[in-house]
C-alpha cells in the first residue's frame, strides 16, 4: 500500500491517480478483513473502490486536465511531513499495544454489547445490532448527512432550465 501511495503522489496523469486510488481502497479492504472488520471491509470495498472511483472519474471527465509540473521543490511540505511523522510516532508509542485485552477499548461498554446483544436484540451480527439499535441516533444522523450531501450536489450542479424554456417559446 505504501508503494501505491508513493506512485500516486508522484504521478501527474490524473486518470492514473484515480485508478491507483481504487487499487488502494481495495488493498485497504483486504487489510481490514485481516483485522476481522468484515462489515467495514465490505463498505470500504464497495464505497471506496466502487462509488468513489466513479465519482472521481465523472469529475475528471468534466474537468479534463492534467496536473501541472510543480513550480518549486516541496521542501517545506516535506519538512512538515517529516516532523509530523516524528511527533505522531512519539505520540502513538503511549497508546496500548496491539491486541492487548486489558486496553480500555475492550473493557468499558463492549463486553455488555457482546454478551447482551443476542438476548436483547436477537441479532447475531453485533455490528448491525450496535449500529441500528444501540446507537441508532448516530445512524439517523449519518443518513441525514448522506441526504444533505445529495441535496448539496443537486444545488451545486443543477442546470438552469430558464434559457431552454425561453428559446422553446
Amino acid at each position: 500500500m505504501a508503494i501505491v501511495v508513493v506512485v500516486l503522489a508522484r504521478s501527474r496523469n490524473l486518470f492514473a491517480v484515480v485508478v491507483l486510488m481504487g487499487i488502494y481502497s481495495f488493498l485497504m479492504a483486504t487489510v481490514l478483513v485481516a483485522l476481522d472488520a468484515v462489515d467495514v471491509a465490505m463498505t470500504e470495498a464497495s464505497v471506496g473502490a466502487g462509488v468513489s472511483t466513479v465519482l472521481l472519474l465523472g469529475a475528471l471527465h468534466l474537468c479534463k486536465s492534467e496536473e501541472a509540473k510543480p513550480l518549486r521543490k516541496p521542501w517545506l511540505p516535506l519538512a512538515v511531513s517529516a516532523s509530523a511523522v516524528g511527533m505522531l510516532v512519539f505520540g502513538t508509542l503511549g497508546l496500548p499495544a496491539i491486541s492487548d485485552p486489558t486496553a480500555p477499548i475492550h473493557t468499558h461498554v463492549v463486553p455488555r454489547y457482546l454478551t447482551d446483544a443476542m438476548r436483547e436484540t436477537g441479532v447475531p451480527n453485533v455490528v448491525t445490532a450496535v449500529l441500528a439499535s444501540y446507537r441508532g441516533y448516530d445512524t439517523l444522523g449519518e443518513t441525514t448527512v448522506v441526504f444533505t450531501a445529495g441535496v448539496g450536489v443537486i444545488a451545486l450542479l443543477r442546470r438552469r432550465r430558464n434559457t431552454n424554456q425561453e428559446t422553446a417559446k
Binding site: 469529475a59 496536473e67 501541472a68
Partner: protein, 125 residues
Amino acid sequence: MSIGTHFSYAVTVLLMVAGLFIVIARSNLIKKLVGLGIFQTSVYLLYIAPGKLIGGTAPILDDRFTIYSNPLPHVLILTAIVVGVATLALGLALVVRIREAYGTIEEDDILARDADDRRDDGQSG
C-alpha cells in the same frame, strides 16, 4: 513499548502523513481530494487496528467462538466511510464549479487569478 508491538500505529502514521503531504504539497484540486481520501483511510486503520484481538474473530455471535474482536470501532468507522464519500462528492461538485468559473483546477493559477481580480478592483474602484 517497542516499535514491534506498535507497528500498526507506524503504518497508520505513515499513511496519514502521506495523505497530508499530498494535500499540502500538490496544487491540483482533484489530487488534493484524493490525498484527503488517503488521510481518511489511515484514520480508519487507526481506529480498527487496536480493536483486533489476535485469536479473535469477526464480531458475529456464534456458538463456535468465544473471543471476538471489538465491534465498537467497526460501527464508528462504518459511519465515517459513508460520511467520507459524501464529503468527496460535495468536494468534487465544488471542483467542477471552480473549473467552470476559473477554467483551471490548479490552486496556484486560481490564487493568481484572484490576486489579479483584487488588484483590478482596487485600481478601478
